[in-house]
Structures are given as structure tokens and as C-alpha cells.
């Protein structure tokens, strides 16, 4: 084999490896989406520097997408330990309300308000975690309770009113700029880097994957499954708290009824798009962030094309299903099935009857999920 050939083979191998990485499809989708917009959406790629600050759609995407990216960061860990956190939108509203109330009605300093709000968010996350682990509730139910209650508590605290504030130091979190770029972008990058570092450089990443892949095996290996799950939920709460502060600072008021509404769905979709399996397992944090950017790019693109915000919901729904289809092994089957079927060498008659949907080939998602039975 010539050196050229071996290099080609190496490239091909690397290409195949990349293609099968879960981050490949979302990244490809994002690149296509961005290219399409840069070419076909007028003014999409324009960047302006005004008052030492960059403006443009691309910046908007990152700035407005910051809350969802933060939520997706926390959600990635929760989903990786085979959980789900539906309460993040409510926690955003709660954290925003706490901070705004402390600054206005109780005349607290900005750092005190931020710390208190984050502490509340962390506490709510830990509460979710305790319900899921030590009490043994299903994650959907435990966090559903907090989804209802969190916003309820926030509404009760603010007495159904929006809380306006004029605190430049706090608004800086949402609208400020450093080096020409909005502050939320730096917060997201900081949090994401921190998490990536912890996942890659400490054993925690491995532990999380172990718990999500097979909790029983992890427990038998001596991992403290409950503690790891609790950590994931607490962190998700904390991330939601930060997202809530950003969203609140951005509009200079705590709008409890609308802050973070439905964002849990965006965050979950972002994580799913990013390739983390809903059944738990390896967390793909980078994929989740890409997923969040895809969701935001879609929103901005549709807005720029004059599509009404409400209509973008349909497109988000279709994108979510298509991405799931791409990742579901059903798609592989269809790809295999089509040429097979039309080449005349169809399946053995009756074999489809014998192989109903539960009988598909074991996938990476299935492995590690034994039927739940009494130990």
C-alpha cells in the first residue's frame, strides 16, 4: 500500500469515527443551518461594532440563547444519570423573583441578592434530587411537582406582580458587555468549561456515565449512586438559577408568569439533539450546547424572515422529531431496508410478523437497562 493509500485509509477511518460520534449530526445540522442563513437570509452575517460592542444576528443568537445553553448544561448531567428535570423553567422564575425582591424591597446588595437567589435555586435542585433518590419518586413526577410549585412560590412571593428594578450592577449580568461581547456568553462559556473540565479530568464524568448506564451495576461497584444523582439535580438547579438571573437582568424586571416558560422543553430538546440518550449514559455536553444554539438559530432565523414567534413552535417540533429519527436506530433500519427491499431480495416472508418492534437489535441505549425487577 502506498503511503498515500494508507493516509487515505486513515482519513477514511477518522471520517467514519467522526460520522458515528453523536456530536456529528448536530454539528453538521448547525453548519448547514448557518451556511443557509449566511447565504439566503439578508443581513444574517452582518456584524457591527457600535460603542465598542458587537451587534448582529450571530451575537443575538449567543446572547439570547444563553439561558437555554445554561439549562441544557445542567440538563445534560441530569439526563446522563437517567433522569429528567422539568422544573428548570420554574426555577428560573423563582431565582429571578428572589433576586429582584431582595434588591428592591429589602435593599440588599447585588452580590447578596445573587448569592441568595443561587442558593434558593441550588436548594430546589437538591430537593428534586432527594425526592428522586432517597424518596424514590420517578424523575418526571418529582420535577413536575416542582415545575408547578416553583412558579407558584415565585408568584406568591411577588404577589402576582412584575418586579421592576433599576440596578445597573445587576443588569450588567444580562445586558453588559466585556471585550465587545455580551456578558451572558462569558458566563455560559465559563460554566461549560468548568463542567467539561470536571467531566474530563476527574472521575466524576465516569461515575455519571456509570450511574446512567446501569445504576445497579454502579451501586455494586461501590459508587454512591444516590449522591451522584443528587449532585446532578442540584447542579441543574444551580444552572437554572444562573439562567434565571440572566433572563431577569436582561429585561430589568422579574416577570414571574413568563420567565422561563416552556424553556424546559427547549433545554430537553437541545440535550436530545446533542446526542445524550434520554435513557442515560454518557453526557455529551458539547452536543447539548450545539443543540441549544441550533434551537436559537432557528428562532432568530424565523424571526428575521418575518415568521411569527408562535409559528416557530411547529418548526421546532418537526426538528425535534427529525433529529430523534436520525438518532433512533429506526433510521438505520430504514436506510438498510430500502435498498434491500427494492433489490428484490426482500425479507423472508413472515419474518416481519415474528419481529415486532420490541425485537429490534439491542442498541447501546438498551444495554444496561435490564427489565426492572426486584433485586
Amino acid at each position: 500500500m502506498t503511503p498515500d493509500g494508507s493516509r487515505l485509509a486513515g482519513l477514511r477511518g477518522r471520517w467514519a469515527a467522526a460520522r458515528h460520534s453523536p456530536v456529528f449530526w448536530p454539528l453538521l445540522a448547525l453548519v448547514i443551518l448557518l451556511l443557509y442563513n449566511i447565504i439566503f437570509t439578508p443581513n444574517f452575517a452582518r456584524l457591527e461594532i457600535r460603542e465598542e460592542r458587537a451587534f448582529g444576528s450571530l451575537i443575538d443568537i449567543l446572547q439570547n440563547g444563553a439561558p437555554v445553553m445554561l439549562l441544557a448544561t445542567g440538563m445534560t448531567l441530569v439526563i446522563a444519570v437517567a433522569g429528567i428535570d422539568l422544573s428548570v423553567g420554574s426555577v428560573m422564575a423563582l431565582a429571578g423573583a428572589v433576586a429582584a425582591l431582595l434588591m428592591t424591597e429589602h435593599n440588599q446588595s447585588v452580590p447578596a441578592a445573587i448569592i441568595a437567589a443561587l442558593a434558593v435555586a441550588l436548594l430546589v435542585g437538591a430537593w428534586n434530587g432527594v425526592l428522586v433518590t432517597y424518596v424514590g419518586l420517578q424523575p418526571i413526577v418529582a420535577t413536575l411537582v416542582m415545575l408547578v410549585m416553583g412558579r407558584g412560590i415565585a408568584l406568591a412571593l411577588t404577589q402576582d406582580q412584575k418586579v421592576r428594578f433599576e440596578v445597573p450592577a445587576f443588569e450588567f449580568i444580562g445586558t453588559g458587555a466585556v471585550l465587545g461581547l455580551p456578558v451572558p456568553i462569558f458566563i455560559v462559556v465559563g460554566v461549560a468549561l468548568l463542567v467539561l473540565l470536571v467531566l474530563r479530568k476527574t472521575a466524576l464524568g465516569l461515575y455519571i456515565e456509570a450511574v446512567g448506564s446501569n445504576a445497579r451495576a454502579a451501586r455494586l461497584c461501590g459508587l454512591r449512586v444516590h449522591a451522584i444523582r443528587l449532585l446532578a439535580y442540584s447542579f441543574s438547579g444551580l444552572c437554572a438559577g444562573v439562567a434565571g438571573l440572566i433572563a431577569t437582568a436582561d429585561i430589568k424586571e422579574a416577570d414571574v408568569a413568563n420567565c422561563g416558560l416552556y424553556l424546559e422543553l427547549d433545554a430537553i430538546l437541545a440535550v436530545v439533539i446533542g446526542g445524550t440518550a434520554l435513557t442515560g449514559g454518557r453526557p455529551y455536553l458539547f452536543g447539548s450546547l450545539v443543540g441549544a444554539v441550533i434551537m436559537q438559530t432557528l428562532t432568530v432565523m424565523l424571526q428575521m424572515r418575518g415568521v411569527i414567534t408562535e409559528h416557530t413552535l411547529i418548526i421546532k417540533a418537526v426538528v425535534a422529531i427529525v433529529v430523534c429519527l436520525l438518532q433512533a436506530h429506526a433510521f438505520d433500519r430504514i436506510l438498510r431496508w430500502v435498498p434491500h427491499h427494492f433489490s428484490g431480495g426482500g425479507a423472508i416472508p413472515g419474518s416481519k410478523r415474528l419481529a415486532p418492534e420490541g425485537n429490534r437489535a439491542p442498541t447501546s441505549e438498551d444495554v444496561g437497562h435490564p427489565p426492572t425487577r426486584n433485586p
Binding site: 419518586l137 413526577v141 408547578v148 434520554l278 418492534e357 429490534r360
Partner: protein, 327 residues
């Protein structure tokens, strides 16, 4: 007498309902909490939630979840509104059309779940987005409905009680539909092949499959049924409000899940009943009623519903401890 373990959650719910109703009746006795009228109003005010919850019961019994019901409900109410007011369809055609649309979307979600193996949770989440978006696509604002036939339908009622006595009151069509759906749902779940398949599917999908039950077909039908119920709830909503509304039905899926769970149906599937869901809806209805009496704010009401759901799931957990528990 030993109570079978699977009936314990339902008994707990019934006990809670009786206790709650008793406490409420004692506390508000002089305001007439114990009259037939109050009970009829309870049915009427919760008919939308109740109908949705019956459909949700089947989904949860099968071990799935349907998050799209709130959006489907308001979508069908908007569809009815637009068909009557802008397309000038008679209500007798518009309502079946909306019901068909709801069923079709439900069946579509069921097909995606069945053929791709994507989790019901994520498919119905997308379905919720889809239905909301579709509603806004059809009509951007809520539509008021004025049509003699529609009004006639909405005012249909059966007089209840002894016509001579003072206790007479009318059972409105919304309450009739609610009770009808509960009865049909209970019959379907207990005495038909489909109902048993649903229980089998929720109990253990693999076992159901190996027994040769039509798991795929059942799965698709369940989501179709839930879509139909949501659309019917949307119809009831148009009777109540005389409009097709985008605002109603936000977070309805949560209330519906809460009602089903409070009614003793296990979220893991396989255990529960439609009758229990009726109890659950009534419990939530009474709590909402009490909240209104006490002049609680919307926020505190939400906290109360959340706490109630929490107490019940923890109770379920304790009562069924030792049964199948997730790893």
C-alpha cells in the same frame, strides 16, 4: 379482609376525597357546600380536565405519557371556532372535524412512538409544540363563537332531582359528557379486549409481546384515544366559553397527570383505573373550590396542587414499596 396491594392507592384516594369533602362541607356548611348544586358545579367546572384525564389514564396505564393534551385541547377549540365562524360550517360538522383532527394527531404520535421506538415523553413534547403552533397558524387570536346550533348544544341539560323540591338543578351537557366519558372509559378499560391489552402493556411490555398481544396496534390506539379525549375536551371548552381559546389549556397536561396520579394510577403503568381518575379530578376540583372560597392567590393554589401531587406520589411509593421499583 386483606386488601389487595393494587387496590390500596385507589382506596387511599377515595378516603382522601371523602375526608376532603367532609372537611369542606363542615367548614362551609352554611354556604351550602353539601348541596346537589355544588356537586354538579364541581363536575361542570372540571369537565375539561376530567375528559382529558380519562384519556391520560389510558396512556399512563400503558406506561406512557402524553404531554400534548393541553395543546391539543386548545387547538381543537380553535379549530371549531374557525370552522364555524370563518368557514361557516354548521357545528354538527365542525365538531366531528375537530374530533377527527385530534384523533389523527394522536394516532400520528402513536405511530411515531410505535415504529421508531422514540420515547413517548419526547414525541408528545414535540406534539405539544406542534399542536400549539398549528393552533396559532390556523388563527392567531382566540375566536368567539356565535351560532344558534352551537348555543343550543351548549345549553342542553338534564334536570336532576325531584322537580317539586327546591333541590332541583340542571346537569349541563359538559357534565354529561364528562360522566359519559368516564363511564365509557371505565367500561373500555375493564371489559374490552383493548382495555386488557392496555393493562398488559403497562404491566410488562415484553411479556405482552410474547403473549402475542397486539402491542403495536394497542400503543397507537392509546395515543389516538388520548388525542380524541383532548379534542372532546376542546369541544366542551367551546360550550363553556363560547370561544376557541389559545390561553386555556396551558399546563393542563400537568393537572391531568396530577388527577390521574391522585386517583391511584401508578405512573409506572399497569395499575390504576378510570374510576380512580374521576376521584382524582374531584379531589383537585374541591381543592380549587376551597382555594376560591378562601381567596387564595393563583400562586398558592399552584403550590397546593403541587404539594397534593407530592403527598400522593410519596404515599403511593410507600404503599407499593417492594413492588417493582426502578433501579
Amino acid at each position: 379482609m386483606r386488601i389487595p396491594r393494587r387496590h390500596r392507592p385507589l382506596l387511599a384516594s377515595v378516603a382522601a376525597l371523602v375526608a376532603l369533602y367532609g372537611v369542606a362541607a363542615l367548614r362551609y356548611g352554611d354556604e351550602g357546600f353539601f348541596t346537589l348544586q355544588v356537586f354538579v358545579n364541581l363536575l361542570r367546572n372540571n369537565s375539561v380536565l376530567g375528559i382529558v384525564a380519562v384519556g391520560m389514564t389510558f396512556v399512563i396505564l400503558s406506561g406512557g405519557i402524553d404531554l400534548s393534551v393541553g395543546a391539543m385541547m386548545s387547538l381543537s377549540s380553535v379549530v371549531i371556532g374557525v370552522l364555524i365562524m370563518e368557514c361557516h360550517w354548521p357545528p354538527m360538522l365542525a365538531i366531528p372535524a375537530a374530533l377527527a383532527l385530534g384523533t389523527a394527531v394522536g394516532l400520528g404520535m402513536g405511530c411515531i412512538i410505535r415504529f421508531t421506538g422514540i420515547k413517548p415523553f419526547i414525541v408528545t413534547l414535540a406534539g405539544m409544540f406542534f399542536a400549539r403552533g398549528l393552533g396559532f397558524l390556523i388563527h392567531l387570536e382566540s375566536v368567539s363563537i356565535y351560532h344558534p346550533h352551537h348555543e343550543w348544544l351548549a345549553l342542553l341539560a338534564i334536570p336532576l332531582g325531584d322537580p317539586e323540591s327546591r333541590e332541583t338543578c340542571l346537569l349541563p351537557i359538559t357534565a354529561i359528557l364528562f360522566l359519559g366519558v368516564v363511564l365509557i372509559g371505565a367500561y373500555t378499560s375493564l371489559f374490552t379486549r383493548f382495555g386488557r391489552n392496555v393493562y398488559a402493556l403497562g404491566g410488562n411490555e415484553e411479556a405482552a409481546l410474547l403473549m402475542g398481544l397486539p402491542v403495536g396496534r394497542t400503543k397507537i390506539s392509546i395515543y389516538g384515544l388520548s388525542g380524541f379525549c383532548a379534542a372532546l375536551a376542546g369541544t366542551v371548552l367551546t360550550f363553556e366559553l363560547s370561544s376557541g381559546s389559545h390561553i386555556e389549556g396551558v399546563a393542563l397536561e400537568l393537572d391531568a397527570i396530577a388527577a390521574v396520579v391522585v386517583g391511584g394510577t401508578l405512573l409506572t403503568g399497569g395499575v390504576g383505573s378510570v374510576f380512580g381518575t374521576l376521584i382524582g379530578v374531584l379531589i383537585i376540583g374541591i381543592i380549587l373550590n376551597v382555594m376560591t372560597y378562601e381567596d387564595f392567590s393563583a400562586g398558592l393554589t399552584k403550590v397546593a396542587i403541587g404539594l397534593l401531587l407530592l403527598v400522593f406520589v410519596v404515599l403511593q411509593r410507600l404503599l407499593t414499596r417492594g413492588a417493582a421499583r426502578p433501579a
